[in-house]
């Protein structure tokens, strides 16, 4: 039976495509009408075509584990998430504003620490931050930018408003899926791309290269840029290799690099050593340089921090940028925007309770069944408590954890997360989603058009992480002709 939008309903959540009355929202009208006009067989054919395209392209992308199995095939749903361009322009401005303030904050923390002196940001928070790197104090990276690539997660609550859930400033991943998803959709729904004005996303690798190149310590048209990966067993390895290929730069591991007595970083090539200008590293801070951080790191390059501090090489994101990637620091972003930019935040934060504060902690402990509790420094959806769906034992466990280490926990009200119609067993059902746009900051800043939409494929689930049953969708920013 073809899809009947009239019968589709997303209870208790905002649906991105369909109104509660079963009508398509303006930007989604053409797509909804087209998808609704397909028979079951046609719809299945499109889905199979997408799977096939994924598989064929996936040959390049999937990482084969040692046992020969594929450990990296991420489910994809063919119904796109659609955002009106008018709304996107506002979101984009908000993301740029946020990235600018975050970069000023990081620079300030490693510099004069005005924000602490002025009583906006508590000094004890910094003292307890696990991502603050004292080795970075006093460093002024090129253009004063620390977080060159930022992935901020956005969600839309029941009220239809977008909220920023977190900012990933260490090594955010997922952009390759955004690019790949678009290629698949162009193969599967070419007629929609002719009919609807969907903003392209494929300029990202070029923008990324330009951003990285703008950091080069040596003026040159084509500075030597490399992508540094922890190696083939890293779950994002395919993205590392994909981005290196797309930018036309070398993919390297720590052992390909060496720091010489002149404090410059060199690539080991068959023609001898070649100077490197910019390193896009996808390796965590602590593994970058055994001289400066963990001495047991096999992934790093001895002397890399020395070279960076002396300005002989640029590293993106800069070491230490993760200090702002912390769910406690997150609560202060609106205040940062007002403090550094004297502007009103365009994008809202989710209301956040800091467990380190006695009053807020009491509120959290009394309302564990209604709140989501998150550790400050985990990613990938690990170590969370989702109050409404938790057991008594889980809540007691978290109460204990919070009492023991209040600095490490925050709590937020349970958002309902908006939904998008998703193909499930031949019919469409609402599934919860979020959005990760990527913000590039260098000489100029750039935001991806849309970003990566992650979808929780299990009915009712709010966890979109790929490691926990999530999939992805293509994200369309669509011009509707209004301004």
């Amino acid at each position: 039976m073809p899809i009947r939008w009239k019968e589709y309903s997303s209870a208790n959540a905002y649906d991105e495509l369909i109104t509660p009355h079963g009508r398509a929202r303006k930007a989604a009208q053409r797509a909804a009408r087209y998808i609704g006009s397909l028979t079951d067989v046609e719809l299945r054919e499109r889905r199979d075509a997408a799977e096939l395209a994924m598989r064929v392209m996936g040959i390049t992308f999937t990482v084969y584990s040692d046992q020969g199995g594929i450990d990296r095939a991420w489910p994809f749903d063919i119904i796109p998430r659609i955002i009106p361009a008018r709304e996107w322009r506002i979101t984009e401005a908000g993301l740029k504003q946020r990235a600018t303030a975050l970069n000023m904050f990081i620079a300030d923390l490693y510099g004069e620490q005005r924000i602490i002196r002025d009583g906006i940001f508590p000094a004890e928070l910094l003292a307890q931050s696990v991502n603050f790197r004292k080795q970075c104090m006093g460093v002024r990276p090129p253009l004063d930018v620390w977080a060159h690539i930022c992935g901020s997660d956005l969600v839309r609550d029941r009220d239809g408003r977008l909220y920023v859930l977190e900012d990933n400033l260490r090594v955010p991943s997922g952009v390759s899926y955004m690019l790949e998803n678009r290629l698949v959709m162009k193969r599967v729904f070419p007629e929609l791309f002719e009919d609807v004005s969907i903003l392209p996303v494929d300029g990202y690798p070029t923008r990324l290269f330009d951003t990285l190149a703008s950091l080069s310590p040596r003026p040159a048209d084509y500075p030597t840029v490399v992508v540094m990966t922890p190696g083939i067993y890293n779950s994002a390895y395919f993205e590392h290799s994909y981005l290196a290929q797309q930018m036309g730069v070398e993919l390297v591991t720590g052992s390909d690099l060496v720091v010489q007595d002149d404090d410059c970083v060199y690539l080991r090539t068959v023609g001898g050593l070649e100077r490197v200008d910019v390193i896009y590293r996808r390796v965590d801070d602590l593994f970058l340089d055994p001289e400066a951080f963990r001495a047991d790191s096999q992934l790093g390059v001895p002397g890399l921090m020395r070279a960076w501090r002396k300005g002989k090489v640029a590293i993106a994101n800069a070491p230490g940028a993760g200090v702002a990637d912390d769910k406690v620091v997150y609560a202060f972003v609106p205040a940062m925007i007002r403090y550094y930019l004297d502007e009103k935040p365009v994008l809202a934060n989710v209301e956040t309770y800091l467990c380190m504060d006695d009053k807020q902690r009491a509120h959290v402990l009394a309302n564990l069944d209604k709140l989501v509790v998150k550790p400050a420094n985990e990613s990938g959806g690990y170590g969370m408590l989702i109050g409404p769906s938790s057991s008594k034992a889980e809540r007691e466990k978290f109460a204990g954890l919070i009492e023991k280490d209040p600095r490490n926990y925050i709590a937020q009200p349970t958002l309902s997360l908006s939904t998008v119609p998703t193909l499930c067993d031949g019919t469409v059902e609402p599934r919860h989603i979020d959005l990760r746009p990527f913000i590039l900051s260098g000489e100029s800043s750039h935001v991806t058009r849309g970003g990566l939409t992650r979808v929780a494929l299990k009915k009712g689930s709010l966890v979109v992480n790929s490691s926990q049953g999530g999939g992805s969708k293509d994200t369309w920013v669509v011009e509707t002709g209004e301004h």
Binding site: Y64, A244, V258, R268, T269, V270, G271, L273
Partner: protein, 315 residues
């Protein structure tokens, strides 16, 4: 620009593909030889272990060099890093980390072969299934070499692949000569004499050289001519002389090649100038040992110059 680590992976990938192919061929040829030799003459399977140069490891794990033990050891024993399974696994690992450079079709072929070998191990070791299994390994390795040659840019990275392939061929040819030919030369027992022919043929077969030998040499197979063919023939792709000149061509395109060219030149002179009659009389072993030593030196020099950059790092 070519990263040292990528160059090194190309080199080893080619060596291990070649090693898997050569091992399979040696098993296959020996199998045939055993069928032709009379029962009372026991050549046994042990020489194959000597050819692979890993008799110590073998003895640690097996009490006797029975057919079954030797074949298992050469096909799938994890204690033997040179066994076919391990060689393919190492080649695959090297290719997996250089997939941006190597054509996708080559990856698929190697992956297919790897899966086939793993799934059919029991067949490969059994006497009945052995032929099909070894043939498959040889064919796929050749297919892979062909795909690499035919679809990959012949740039610096390909030069390393080609050097790896020819280093391994040189190595294998000298090993086969060392183990098989020395036993066939003068001081052997009368009992074996009548079987000289088929044994020499199997030496040539081990290196796919028999047919070409007949085309070039026109005589029935004789020790000295066979030896000359395997060492000095300039047109046969598995003769030592030929392999060394392939390496030379690659080196000429590479930067900083003087030290490696010097070592290579020594090996080439040794092979070119050697009087076959004399070494047959005075000791083939000594000559082959010396040649293998220089071969090892060449490998070390390539490693130093291009993979670990010890010299350029100092400059």
């Amino acid at each position: 620009m070519l990263l040292s680590s990528v160059a090194e992976r190309m080199y080893w990938m080619a060596r291990y593909i070649e090693r898997a192919e050569n091992t399979a061929r040696i098993i296959l040829v020996h199998n045939n030889l055993m069928l032709d030799m009379p029962r009372r003459i026991a050549i046994g399977w042990e020489p194959l272990v000597f050819i692979m140069g890993s008799e110590n490891v073998f003895r640690e794990h097996y009490s006797e060099a029975s057919e079954r033990n030797v074949v298992r050891y050469l096909v799938s024993d994890k204690n033997n890093p040179n066994c076919i399974s391990c060689s393919l696994a190492i080649a695959r690992e090297n290719l997996r980390t250089t997939r941006a450079i190597v054509p996708r079709a080559a990856w698929e072929t190697l992956n297919d072969l790897f899966e086939y070998c793993r799934e059919n191990l029991a067949t490969g070791i059994s006497r009945r299934g052995r032929y099909v299994y070894m043939k498959r390994v040889i064919d796929y390795c050749q297919l892979l070499t062909g795909k690499l040659s035919g679809t990959m840019s012949h740039d610096l990275s390909y030069d390393f692949l080609r050097m790896g392939r020819n280093m391994e061929r040189t190595d294998m040819t000298t090993r086969v000569i060392d183990v098989r030919a020395t036993n066939l030369l003068p001081n052997q027992t009368d009992e074996l004499k009548p079987f000289d022919d088929i044994q020499w043929k199997s030496v040539l077969d081990s290196l796919t050289a028999y047919q070409m030998y007949r085309r070039h040499v026109h005589v029935r197979v004789r020790g000295r001519q066979a030896l000359r063919f395997l060492l000095q023939e300039t047109e046969f792709p598995r003769s030592v002389q030929y392999c060394l000149s392939e390496i030379e061509q690659c080196l000429h395109r590479l930067p900083g090649n003087e030290p490696a060219l010097r070592v290579l030149g020594r090996a080439q002179r040794m092979v070119h100038e050697v009087a076959i009659d004399r070494i047959v009389r005075e000791g083939l072993n000594d000559f082959i040992d010396e040649l293998q030593r220089v071969h090892g030196e060449l490998h070390d020099q390539l490693t130093t110059t291009y993979f670990t950059l010890q010299e350029s790092a100092a400059s």
